[in-house]
């Protein structure tokens, strides 16, 4: 409403000025300039929400800013260890997780799902450049984002030619290294978190190699022919309190999330490293996967 009123006012002024009949061309020109500048300033202040149009795409990103409790995240923090709720001191050597199937919901409740082929991201804690999931969504004001932590079952079993980039089973080397694919039990590792803690014993109950390493490789898409563990987690983050995302073509709206890795240990299924130093494809992984849903909090939005 304000927008229309101001516009009318601007035009009225223009017409009025014409009636006064300026004599010189210079004066007329100056007047037009002034009028236009008033008009432009009017429209800027109003910042209208563009009509929701699926093809009217603009840049949008979610930032996965890893933190560890009250501290910033760092790899190989052997000189300044983190401490979990069980009082165990640990360092982190690897953190990688898949974010996929991004969906946004407008303030009015309209939903847009990013085309699946453009909606798979691997966040690597050791590489800050990977922390943004850059996509395109229609111009609009968004109050909710939804994404999958992991890789959906459909894509997990799709023809290999549809699984390229971060989904390539060859990516990152083998699963002993940075790889995120299990060959023997076809499927992706959704969340890979490794580090060291002195509490880990050197026997078979800990790390027999003596490196005092913990490894959490969480995956499991629910099974191909029979239902098996399903650790795919869908996360929805409400943006109302910390700032909605105003997606426009001329800017980069970024939803800044904190991802608290400490919650892996301290979430609702809290556990100690010494009790579970290695969790991969096992029933216990379900407990950890459940903690993973608590990792994400919305800190602010950069519009």
């Amino acid at each position: 409403m304000l927008y229309h009123r101001m516009q009318l006012y601007c035009y009225a002024q223009l017409i009025l000025n014409f009636i006064i009949k300026m004599n010189t061309i210079v004066k007329q020109f100056l007047l037009i300039i002034i009028t236009i500048s008033i008009y432009t300033s009017c429209s800027k202040k109003s910042d209208p929400t563009p009509a929701f149009e699926e093809k009217n795409l603009a840049p949008f990103s979610i930032e996965f800013d890893n933190i560890v409790g009250d501290r910033t995240f760092s790899i190989n923090n052997t000189g300044s260890l983190y401490t979990n709720a069980a009082g165990e001191k640990f360092s982190i050597s690897m953190l990688q997780y898949f974010i996929s199937n991004i969906k946004v919901v407008t303030v009015e409740g309209k939903t847009y799902t990013v085309p699946q082929d453009k909606s798979y991201f691997l966040i690597n804690g050791a590489d800050k450049a990977t922390r943004f999931t850059k996509v395109e969504v229609p111009e609009g004001d968004y109050s909710k984002v939804t994404f999958t932590l992991g890789v959906d079952s459909l894509r997990s079993t799709m023809d290999l030619s549809k699984r390229t980039g971060v989904l390539d089973p060859a990516a990152g080397g083998g699963h002993d290294g940075g790889g995120m694919y299990w060959g023997w039990n076809s499927g992706y590792i959704f969340f890979k978190f490794e580090g060291n803690a002195n509490v880990i014993s050197d026997d078979v109950n800990g790390d027999p190699t003596g490196k005092k390493q913990f490894k959490y490789h969480i995956g499991g898409f629910g099974g191909y022919s029979a239902p098996t563990i399903n650790n795919i987690k869908t996360i929805t983050v409400d943006l109302i309190n910390a700032g909605i995302a105003k997606v426009r073509k001329d800017r980069q709206s970024n939803v800044h999330l904190f991802v608290d890795i400490m919650k892996v240990f301290n979430g609702k299924n809290s556990f100690s490293i010494v009790a579970h130093p290695n969790v991969m494809f096992s029933n216990y992984s379900v407990n950890i996967a459940s903690n993973l849903t608590e990792l994400f909090t919305h800190d602010h939005t950069e519009n």
């Binding site: 079993t157 023809d159 290999l160 030619s161 699984r163 390229t164 390539d168 089973p169 060859a170 990516a171 080397g173 083998g174 699963h175 290294g177 790889g179 694919y181 060959g183 023997w184 039990n185 076809s186 099974g223 191909y224 022919s225 029979a226 098996t228 563990i229 494809f281 096992s282 029933n283």
Partner: protein, 347 residues
Amino acid sequence: MNSKHFLVLLFIGLFIIACKKSEPIQYKLEVFLGFQKPVNFPEPVYNFANNKITKDGFELGRMLFNEPRLSRNNTITCGSCHIQSSAFTQHGHDVSHGIDDRLGTRNSPPIMNLAWSKAFNWGGGVHDLDTQPITPITTHEEMDEKLENVYNKLRAMPKYSKKFKAAFGTEEINTARFMKALSQFMLMCISSNSKYDKVMRKENGASFTTEELEGYNLVKEKCASCHSEPLFTDGSFRNNGLGISPVNDKGLYTATLIETDKYKFKVPSLRNLKYTAPYMHDGRFLNLSAVLEHYNSEIAATPNLDPLLKGNKMGIALTTTEKTKINSFLNTLNDEEFIKNPLLAEQ
């Protein structure tokens, strides 16, 4: 040109042909027929729509199958543990023998009739033939290599650039093309020309002997509920009552974590048993008489034992005569054409 000139030319021509290796000429004469479903077989389960078999794709797959660069130190090929003369198994080895003489925990299964297979490995876990080779290539005890390293090694070889271009229209090697070429070769490893098949297709008046026929009827009565015709496996996973070994391989359970899958292994085919000893997932039985005696008297009541093996007397009662007849029939499932097919041999 008079007849003398002609004779000279003919002679020279013959001389040139004689100088050339006879094998490539013979090979060029063969027409590549692609995947052909044997008439006595059901529809395959492999999705050919995503991977049409071509001559170049198949040949590339065959090159890759026999390529030692698939292993970390370029010593092991797929063919090392899947030898054609042993119906693509590693004859004589109870468990497969991989890189640096490392031993696995399971017997290498045959590469045979995989187009009809819904799940792979003794313990399942893989459901798409295209993703199966990832396991042996990356497993510590087998080839112990990273896929990207394999591709890089192949990228440096012009013969592969050329063959990838011919097969897929691009020199670029990626996971999908690499795996699909291997699938093309493996899908063509069809064993369907045993005496049994010829009898079923009534080819050239083939027929069973009396003993074979009696054996056939016994197999239908006592074995076919798991080893069903014509593939002689129903593709299911079952616990056939093997005593638990020190390795305590839990089979299908490892991939599903479902309690009722513990100690279940994939039902193997009864085809080509002559070439594939030893038997069972860990190769514990050196010959067929040990296998038949297992079913006759050695079934162990381990968790999830198949209900078909339970009863008043556990297992499948077999007299000595019955065993002889069954053996006689099983011999008709050996397919010599398959193990000698030059198309499937390393070139």
